[in-house]
Every structure is written in structure tokens, then in C-alpha cells.
């Protein structure tokens, strides 16, 4: 079925992940996201994970790497909607997402990105 859509709004690239992704699917999404930044400049990236019930070390790394690579392309990243249970689990796993800016929901994430411009 369908690839995860990559939206453009106000010059920001927005992705909303609402289903559990396999490692391969997560990697594909990362690739398409970074390609979309190369094709047309963007002012920021917003990754909404409010629909995700599980973020393990693999996906956490995908998030970190995506943000790091986008940064290299001059674009800031905001991750929104991390579920409380996911945040607790990441901490106990010993994984650190502090290098990625996070906000509670899409609206707040967009506000944060707008504020940086």
C-alpha cells in the first residue's frame, strides 16, 4: 500500500507517522524525507509521532539521524506528539533524544519552527 505522505505547508515539510513501521519502512521514509529536502528547500521538518505506540532503539536512531542530516542541510527538525509511555520507555532504555527538539503536538511544533525563522 501507500507510502507515508510527505506534506509541504508554509515551506515546512511535515510527516505524520500513525502506524508501527518496520525497520525497512522507517529507513525508506527517512530517505524520502531527506530527498524531499534536496529537491526543494524547506524551512524546517516536522515529524509527528503521536500515533506511535512503540519507539525502540532502532527508530530512535532514525529520528536522531534524520534530524542530524537535516541539520547538515541547514534545516531544523521538530518531533511532536511523543506519547508519555514512549518517553518513559526511551529513558529506561538509556536512549537520549535530547539533541532533537520535541513539542507536544503539531500546532506547537509549527509554532516553534516559525519562531526560528
Amino acid at each position: 500500500m501507500a507510502n507515508i505522505p510527505i506534506l509541504r505547508l508554509e515551506g515546512y515539510v511535515i510527516v505524520s507517522i500513525q502506524d508501527d513501521l518496520s525497520d525497512q519502512e522507517a529507513e525508506d521514509l527517512q530517505k524520502r524525507l531527506l530527498e524531499s529536502l534536496a529537491v526543494r528547500t524547506a524551512h524546517g521538518v516536522l515529524i509527528d509521532v503521536s500515533g506511535l505506540e512503540i519507539v525502540d532503539s532502532y527508530f530512535c536512531r532514525i529520528l536522531r539521524d534524520t534530524a542530524a542530516m537535516a541539520q547538515l542541510m541547514g534545516v531544523g527538525t521538530c518531533v511532536t506528539g511523543l506519547a508519555p509511555a514512549v518517553a518513559v520507555t526511551l529513558t529506561e532504555l538509556g536512549l537520549d533524544l535530547s539533541m532533537v527538539h520535541t513539542e507536544g503536538n503539531l500546532d506547537r511544533g509549527l509554532e516553534w519552527l516559525r519562531g526560528r525563522d
Binding site: 508501527d20 513501521l21 518496520s22 525497520d23 525497512q24 505506540e53 512503540i54 519507539v55 525502540d56 532503539s57 532502532y58 536512531r61 506519547a83 508519555p84 509511555a85 514512549v86 518513559v88 520507555t89 529506561e92 532504555l93 538509556g94 536512549l95
Partner: protein
């Protein structure tokens, strides 16, 4: 008798396993945070099987402690190359694949009981339990 047995031979099995155990945990009465913790622990260990041993299986069983508390038992086993430096791996931060090296040590922190047996050349068996 396990409630669920899943062959873990590929990428998709990681998704299936963590989804299945999450559902099972929910049905047993675990809250969201514990569902997520258990499912994440399973995700880490099953990925190791797929990554390092290619194939294996995972068994989920609803169990009861001596004190009468209900819980879920997870057994994940493979007949892959086994783990050389068990002590180091259990401490965490060690990876032969450029990973975070947090899979095993992290999974251990997320459950109530964690048991890892591994014989180089024979395979690896992880037993985890989480109580309500």
C-alpha cells in the same frame, strides 16, 4: 502452553512480535506504560535474533507468580552464533554492529525478570517476565 508463537525470520516479524505482545499485555490488564515497555523490550531482542542469528522464534505465555500475580512470560530463542562477551553485553554500550549497544541492557531494564543464556556456536535464549 504459550498463547502465541511467532517465527522471527525477518523485519516484519519484529513489527508482528511487538504488536502481538502489546495486545496480549493489554488483554491481561497491563497499563499503557507497561505495555509499551514490554513491547519495546521484545522489539529489541527480536531484532537481535533477526540481525545476528537470522532466524529464531518468540513465545508469549500468560503466567502466574507463586504469590498469585499474573504476568507475561516471553521466551526468545535462536540457534545463531551466540554471544561471546556476555558480561560486557549485559552492561550495555557494546555493539558489534555499530548500534547503540542498548538492546540487551535496555530490554533488561524494561522488564521485571531477565535471563540471558548464550553459548557461542549454539545459540541464544532470552527469558523475560513482567508482572502486573
Amino acid at each position: 502452553m504459550p498463547e502465541i508463537i511467532i517465527a522471527t525470520n525477518d523485519d516484519a516479524a519484529i513489527v508482528t512480535s511487538r504488536g502481538a505482545v502489546r495486545e496480549l499485555a493489554r488483554s491481561v490488564g497491563f497499563g499503557t506504560v507497561d505495555q509499551t515497555k514490554l513491547a519495546t523490550a521484545v522489539s529489541e531482542i527480536v531484532r537481535n535474533v533477526v540481525l545476528y542469528a537470522k532466524r529464531g522464534q518468540v513465545l508469549f505465555t500468560i503466567c502466574e507468580s507463586n504469590a498469585g500475580t499474573r504476568g507475561i512470560e516471553v521466551i526468545i530463542e535462536d540457534e545463531g552464533p551466540g554471544i561471546q562477551d556476555l558480561e560486557i553485553v549485559l552492561d550495555g554500550g557494546y555493539s558489534t554492529s555499530g548500534g547503540f549497544g542498548r538492546g540487551i541492557s535496555g530490554a533488561r531494564a524494561l522488564v521485571d525478570e531477565f535471563n540471558l543464556e548464550s553459548e557461542p556456536g549454539q545459540g541464544t535464549r532470552v527469558e523475560m517476565r513482567k508482572w502486573l
